[in-house]
Amino acid sequence: MRKLVLAISMLAFAGSAASADPLQDRQALMKERGKIAAGLSKVVKGETPYEAASVLTALQALQANAEKFDAEALFPAGSDKGDTTAAPKIWQDMAGFKETHDNYLTDVKAAVAAAPADVDALKTQFGTIGKDCGTCHQTYRIKKG
């Protein structure tokens, strides 16, 4: 049992280290995005105290992550197959998909530029960003079990 767990975790590690596979690349990028958002959310919810410098660092990390998102490279034709939750709609409407992500990037950049001065300011910006996440997942992602 232990060996199996070890083998699986090694496989998972090997997977994350590989980079020729667009499915793994885009999933890693989204995972990283979720982690940064998680940290910010803790501040919004008051679980971590507000600290201007670390909030700004997190927002900058979110921007760097968003700028790495190259829709054409991460979602090439044919990458709708396999273990993916990407919706067929991405390839039917690549322009709309890109535009939706651009809106997200714009809102993240605006948050970085504004450098929220307190938790309330962050709350508003984080709310806008969170809504962008939902808007994209509404149309361009399919839930799988």
């Binding site: 979720g34 959310s41 939750t85 997942h137 839930k143 079990g145």
Partner: protein, 316 residues
């Protein structure tokens, strides 16, 4: 030969009796006077809460509309299901194309009994099997709120259904199996308020079970797998298990559920997706107590394993 004649005769008589019985059993039945008397005057401010909880805009807003335009309830979305394509109608205040001419009793009969003002059955794609659990006073409040919304001209196209689903009268028999105002989940006496308040919102106006519960071949929800998740009726993918069972919300705290309904973020920082995006945005409009009640109910219901088949891991 004589035997055959007799048999044919008996079959005809039986068939006739069956047809007559079927006709009576399938008749649309409206609300009784006692229930209608409970409607009361209605209050638009309270009705807004019911409107949000019910997520009426998800199906009845003009497809693709955003912001305030979502309050123009012109219908026209296409719901492609295994039974055919259902098109939610115009429920704006337009007297001709919408429901502007309806009385509050008409709305109550539609939502609690699935019966139109003309005395016909509605298809249960309009989730009256859930709304049947609602209090008449809440219907009156909703009616008052709908009155504040704009009239939009233009009828939505009709449903596109094949035989036998195009026979409306048959729904009367289906209702005998699936239309009930009794709570789906019975809790013992002394169950705390938030749980029962959450039950009302989830089983009634919220109609969560319509997507989150697997359906039998008849199209009715399987109450024995209540909220266990299901293959999406529309399109691909699944609708998740929201019971405390394995694959469901066992790892989520009550606060996690309430926070998800408010912000759209899951505890592991994925976000809401698909049709749930609109639902979550409506839930965010509710009071915090309502979201907490929904969370309390979801933690109190019987756990079930996933109501959909395991994900196929494609060979890579």
């Amino acid at each position: 030969m004589r035997l055959l004649k007799k048999l044919v005769g008996a079959a005809l008589v039986l068939g006739g009796v069956g047809a007559v019985a079927g006709w009576f059993l399938s008749a649309p039945v409206g609300l009784d006077a006692e229930t209608l008397a409970q409607l009361g005057p209605g209050d638009a401010a309270r009705g807004k809460r019911i409107f949000s909880a019910g997520g009426c805009t998800s199906c009845h807003a003009k497809p693709g509309s955003k912001g305030d335009a979502r309050l123009e309830l012109a219908g026209g979305l296409e719901l492609k299901t295994p039974f055919g394509t259902f098109v939610p109608p115009n429920i704006s205040q337009d007297a001709k194309d919408g429901i502007g001419a309806w009385t509050v009793e008409d709305l109550a009969n539609a939502m609690l009994k699935g019966v139109s003002p003309a005395g016909e059955h509605f298809y249960p794609a309009f989730p009256y099997t859930s709304y049947a659990h609602m209090k008449p006073a809440d219907i009156a409040d909703l009616y008052a709120f709908l009155k504040t919304l704009p009239a939009v001209a233009g009828k939505a196209p009709g449903h596109k259904l094949g035989f036998p689903f195009n026979i409306r009268r048959g729904i009367g028999l289906w209702k005998r199996l699936y239309l009930s105002s009794e709570p789906v989940i019975a809790f013992p006496d002394g169950t705390p308020d938030p749980v029962t308040a959450g039950r009302y919102l989830v089983e009634g106006p919220g109609h969560c079970g319509e997507c989150h519960t697997p359906r039998a071949f008849t199209g009715g929800t399987k109450k024995s797998e209540w909220l266990a998740g299901a293959a999406a009726t529309e399109g691909k993918g699944i609708v998740p298990n929201i019971t405390p069972g394995e694959g469901g919300l066992s790892d989520w705290s009550q606060a996690d559920i309430a926070n998800y309904l408010e912000t759209g973020f899951t505890p592991d920082f994925d976000t809401v997706g698909g049709a749930m995006v609109d639902v979550q945005r409506n839930m965010a409009e509710l009071a915090a107590d309502d979201r907490a009640a929904i969370a309390a109910y979801l933690k109190a219901i019987p756990p079930h394993p996933n109501g959909y088949p395991a994900r196929e891991k494609p060979a890579s």
